[in-house]
């Protein structure tokens, strides 16, 4: 190995690491606010990437069915509760959020299929299709069990992952798809050829991180999320609706997942099950960072990306083994150095 190759590997590692970092942030956010280990995070990556690829090839992405049917189920859930509580005034809002919005987005997608829209409009449509899946998933799968233990929520996550990835297989097929590059541009930086695509990934990741930071630090919603994360009961006592926090964190997670999917889709072939592994690596990144601090999670994810890149060079057969084994020493070290907290609900 010489210095040139090392530079190449660093470039590759940082590009992948940036994606893992985004996902690590989303996982951490969802975990802090709702205590859900969000396994289906990866599905948003695959759904967004494959939907964009299908739109580009002039076909209607199956995401619209998932969105509309999921929305209907969520609407039924909420309506039943509202009617039982005789809170009829909530019904129009429920109908608007869970029925009108998904149907509207699907109609736009259906209209957009034969048009040769510009890439940016297609990206917006895909975001409109995938992001609402976040709150819908929260409403259908998690909110009825919001008070359950971390383990129960984790099992729900596994189930949601299998359902979504199975639906992905049905709607996108078993063969992979690829999105046309956003820009073919590349330029020389010393020995490196830097593609515009990888710069896009870095740029978008940084923007999202800054926006997240502003959101948490400057807005009332962000502060509500932070408050819920710090102390759920306390937040409720001061009047923060914790369901809203949950829904909001899932929306953000879906948004981050969808953006990640759109960012990597021109650089690699995406299969219906690709997202899971990427999400899992984001999760490992978050654990490397201690599963508590956002900057450390980003650092952990970038280190993981570098680790993966170098191990794919040295021992490609064992790449995944190496990448996932990193977690063990970190866990051992953490369990030796930190004081064990008993979970709230087990008191």
């Amino acid at each position: 190995m010489n210095f040139d190759i090392a530079l190449w590997l660093v470039q590759d590692g940082i590009t992948n690491g940036a994606i893992y970092a985004l996902l690590a942030l989303a996982l951490l956010l969802v975990f802090a606010v709702t205590r859900v280990i969000f396994v289906p995070q990866g599905e948003f990556i695959a759904y967004a990437a494959l939907s964009l690829a299908l739109l580009q090839s002039g076909r209607l992405p199956g995401t619209v069915y998932v969105l509309v049917i999921g929305g209907l189920i969520a609407a039924v859930f909420d309506s039943v509760i509202a009617i039982r509580a005789r809170a009829y005034r909530q019904l129009p809002r429920i109908f608007a959020v869970y029925v009108v919005l998904p149907v509207l987005m699907s109609a736009i997608a259906w209209w957009a299929v034969p048009q040769k829209l510009s890439l940016w409009l297609q990206v917006l449509i895909v975001l409109g299709l995938v992001v609402p899946l976040g709150p819908i998933l929260y409403r259908v799968a998690y909110r009825p069990l919001a008070g359950a233990s971390v383990l129960v929520l984790f099992i729900v996550s596994m189930a949601a992952h299998y359902v979504l990835s199975g639906l992905g297989l049905v709607f996108f097929g078993s063969e992979g798809l690829r999105v046309q590059p956003f820009s073919e541009g590349k330029f020389q930086l010393g020995v490196l050829t830097v593609t515009a695509q990888s710069l896009w990934v870095l740029f978008a990741s940084l923007v999202i991180m800054v926006v997240l930071w502003l959101l948490f630090d400057r807005t009332i919603y962000g502060k509500a999320l932070r408050a819920t994360a710090i102390n759920r009961i306390g937040a409720r006592l001061v009047g923060i609706p914790t369901e809203l926090s949950g829904s909001l964190s899932f929306t953000l997670a879906a948004f981050i997942g969808a953006v990640s999917g759109i960012l990597i889709s021109p650089a690699t072939t995406i299969y219906y099950d690709t997202g899971f592994l990427i999400g899992l690596k984001g999760f490992v990144g978050a654990i490397l960072g201690g599963m508590g601090s956002y900057p450390l999670a980003v650092l952990g994810a970038v280190i993981l990306g570098l680790f993966e890149s170098f191990s794919s060079f040295w021992a490609s057969t064992f790449k995944e083994v190496i990448v996932f084994t990193v977690i063990i020493p970190v866990l051992v070290w953490r369990s030796l150095t930190s004081i064990h907290h008993v979970e709230d609900e087990e008191q």
């Binding site: 190995m1 190759i5 190449w8 590997l9 590759d12 590009t15 992948n16 994606i19 297989l169 097929g173 078993s174 063969e175 992979g176 798809l177 690829r178 990597i264 650089a267 690699t268 072939t269 995406i270 299969y271 099950d273 690709t274 592994l277 990427i278 890149s309 170098f310 191990s311 794919s312 060079f313 040295w314 490609s316 057969t317 790449k319 995944e320």
Partner: protein, 377 residues
């Protein structure tokens, strides 16, 4: 009233029983849903175009879906041999599923035609015949081309699963004869997001050509990465990669990719007089007209399997009645002795030691030219 129902049921059973006895029953287990559905659909479609009688006897096809799953394939197989008492088993579009069926075929003493290139364990080999080309035979075509180009060093990059190993082993088996050396062995997964590390390592070994052991769209990732990094040498693939999705994914980067495949895929381009040209061309034309689906190798395997049974049944029917163990044994013996049966993929000549029966005419090299798989001239 009760009596009438009893009688009706009894008669129906009697009719069903005689029907089952007179018919030749072919039990098929394919995965036409699940992860391998894109192949399985072709295997399944082909049965709509296959003969309804053999040697004057009606044929009944029982086609079950195993959802690309080994457990389901085994369950299908057991049901077919015990409940339907099939005369011959066929399946499946996946190596593990086919191995499971071969096991059941052997236990139940039912002849079986495998739809994927399996290495049948010796204890099951007696009852099992393999329709598709063995990977060694396919790779032999590649090895000959490597020799023709006077390529001395070959870099290998393949899936980090069983398929990656199978292709590597087949590539290695011809290395000495064709005079090349494998100088790098890199692995990747179908759903990896990047193969930059592996490709850098490959290029550091500076091979004259690269062999990719992927399949379907999965084969495109290393080829794209190699071309983007400016690799100029030839890039070879295996027969698992020959489909139109591969080209759709790879675009201009996969132009010039070379792979072996069954001759049916390019039947219309084969030179006049090629042994399987007429059969292959005729079948593919009917297939494309009926299903409006692109050309593929897989439908041809179903055709060839049924053709082999057809030929063998002519002999076996003289010895026993369908639906009996004697017929199954006679059918197996006859399958083992078919000579020069011209199918869509090959001219089959079986022997007790060769249950595949193919020769060099069973594979051709194709190359991606202007976004199409074309016969390499």
């Amino acid at each position: 009233m009760k009596l009438r129902i009893c009688m009706t049921v009894g008669m129906a059973a009697a009719i069903a029983a005689t029907g089952a006895l007179a018919d030749i029953t072919i039990g098929v287990s394919i995965g036409f849903t699940g992860p391998q559905a894109s192949l399985g659909v072709h295997y399944k479609n082909a049965f709509d175009l296959l003969p309804k009688t053999m040697a004057g006897e009606p044929v009944r096809y029982i086609i079950l879906d195993n959802a690309s799953d080994v457990t389901n394939a085994a369950r299908n197989g057991r049901k077919l041999v015990t409940e339907d008492k099939v005369d011959v088993l066929m399946g499946s579009n996946g190596v593990p599923q086919s191995l499971a069926l071969a096991q059941i075929a052997s236990e139940s003493k039912t002849p079986m035609l495998a739809f994927s290139p399996i290495n049948v364990p010796a204890e099951n080999a007696y009852w099992t015949f393999v329709v598709p080309q063995p990977t060694e035979l396919m790779m032999d075509a590649v090895a000959k081309d490597i020799k023709k180009h006077n390529i001395k060093t070959l870099g290998y990059i393949g899936f980090s699963d069983g398929w990656g190993d199978i292709v590597l082993k087949a590539t290695e088996s011809h290395a000495a004869a064709a005079g090349y050396r494998i100088v790098a062995n890199e692995r990747y997964a179908r759903n990896d997001t990047s193969v930059v590390g592996q490709v850098l390592k490959l290029m550091a070994a500076n091979p004259d050509a690269v062999m990719v052991g992927g399949s379907g769209t999965g084969g495109a990732l290393p080829q794209i990465a190699l071309r983007v990094r400016g690799y100029k040498g030839l890039i070879y693939h295996n027969h698992g990669t020959v489909n139109s999705e591969f080209i759709k994914i790879g675009g201009k980067h996969v132009e010039g990719a070379i792979a072996p495949t069954g001759p049916i895929v390019v039947a219309d381009e084969l030179p006049a007089g090629y042994a399987t040209k007429a059969v292959g061309e005729e079948f593919m034309k009917r297939y494309e007209a009926t299903f409006k689906l692109g050309r593929n190798a897989f439908a041809g395997y179903s055709y060839d399997a049924v053709l082999l049974v057809d030929v063998a049944a002519q002999v076996a029917l003289k010895k026993a009645k369908p639906g009996t163990p004697e017929f199954r044994a006679a059918l197996r013996d006859a399958l083992e002795n078919v000579k020069n049966v011209v199918g869509t993929h090959a001219v089959y000549t079986m022997t007790p030691t060769n249950h595949n029966g193919m020769d060099e005419r069973a594979r051709v090299l194709v190359v991606v030219k202007d976004g199409q798989w074309r016969l390499m001239k």
